[in-house]
Amino acid sequence: MIFLFFSLTGFFNYFQSAKINPDGSGTLNIVYSASLKDVEDSKISDR
C-alpha cells in the first residue's frame, strides 16, 4: 500500500496511517513536514 502526502499550505502538516493486526500489533506510517519560511522563531527550538 502506498500513501502519498503533499504539503501544500500551512507550516506544519502531519499525516499518519496505521495498520493493525488481529493480535493488536501493527505498523504506523508517519509523515510530517514544515515550511520554515512560515515558522515563527518562537515555535522552533534548536536542538
Partner: protein
C-alpha cells in the same frame, strides 16, 4: 549529502538522532526513518514504526500531551479511541490526516469508512477531538480492559437480583394464604 538543520517543532524533531529519541520505546521500533527536503524551505520526515500493541504508542515522547490512544475490548469487537488534545504541541499542527486499516473489517466509527479502513482529518486544533472506531473483531493481545456487552448483563454467573428477597416474601405470603384455609377446613 542532504544538510538538514537541527530543529524541532513541538515534539516533532527534524534531526535523525532526535527522531529516535522521540519515536521509539521498548514496545515501539523504528523500521524506517528518512528526512527529506522537498522544497527550498520545507522539510519532511517519513517514518515507519512497528508497535507491539496500540497502547504502547502512548509511551512515545512525540505523542505526549498530543495524542492519547485507548483500546477497549468487548465480545463484539475492540473499540479504539484516539484523542487529539488541544495543547500547545497540537496547536502547532496545521493539518492532520489519519488513516487506520484493519484487515478484519471496521464496524463503525466517526470517520470516513471505506474498504476496511477509516480516515479522519483535522484542521482546527483549538479544540480537542475524539476519534473512535469499532472493529469487527476483538484484538487478541491489545492489553485492553474487557467490557461486557449489554446483552450479557444478566449472565447466570452474576449475583442474584436484589429484588429476590421481596419476591420470596410475596410467594411465601400467598402460599400461607392458600394453604392455611385448606388445613383449617380439613380439621373441621
Amino acid at each position: 549529502m542532504l544538510k538538514i538543520p537541527k530543529f524541532q517543532i513541538g515534539n516533532f524533531p527534524f534531526g535523525e538522532k532526535n527522531i529516535s529519541e522521540y519515536f521509539s520505546s521498548t514496545d515501539v521500533t523504528i523500521l524506517k526513518s528518512q528526512v527529506a527536503k522537498p522544497g527550498d524551505t520545507s522539510y519532511m520526515v517519513i517514518l515507519d514504526l512497528q508497535f507491539k500493541n496500540l497502547n504502547s504508542l502512548n509511551s512515545l515522547k512525540a505523542f505526549s500531551q498530543l495524542f492519547d490512544i485507548n483500546v477497549l475490548n468487548s465480545d463484539s469487537g475492540s473499540v479504539i479511541k484516539w484523542n487529539v488534545n488541544s495543547g500547545e504541541s497540537a496547536k502547532l499542527i496545521n493539518l492532520l490526516n489519519f488513516i487506520l486499516n484493519f484487515d478484519g473489517g471496521i464496524r463503525s466509527g466517526n470517520g470516513s469508512i471505506k474498504n476496511g479502513s477509516i480516515k479522519w482529518a483535522k484542521t482546527d486544533f483549538s479544540i480537542p477531538s475524539e476519534y473512535s472506531v469499532t472493529l469487527n473483531s476483538k484484538l487478541t493481545n491489545s492489553q485492553a480492559p474487557e467490557k461486557k456487552d449489554p446483552v450479557h448483563e444478566f449472565d447466570i454467573d452474576k449475583k442474584p437480583c436484589g429484588l429476590f428477597g421481596m419476591e420470596f416474601f410475596i410467594i411465601s405470603f400467598i402460599g400461607i394464604i392458600i394453604i392455611y384455609p385448606t388445613k383449617k377446613s380439613k380439621k373441621h
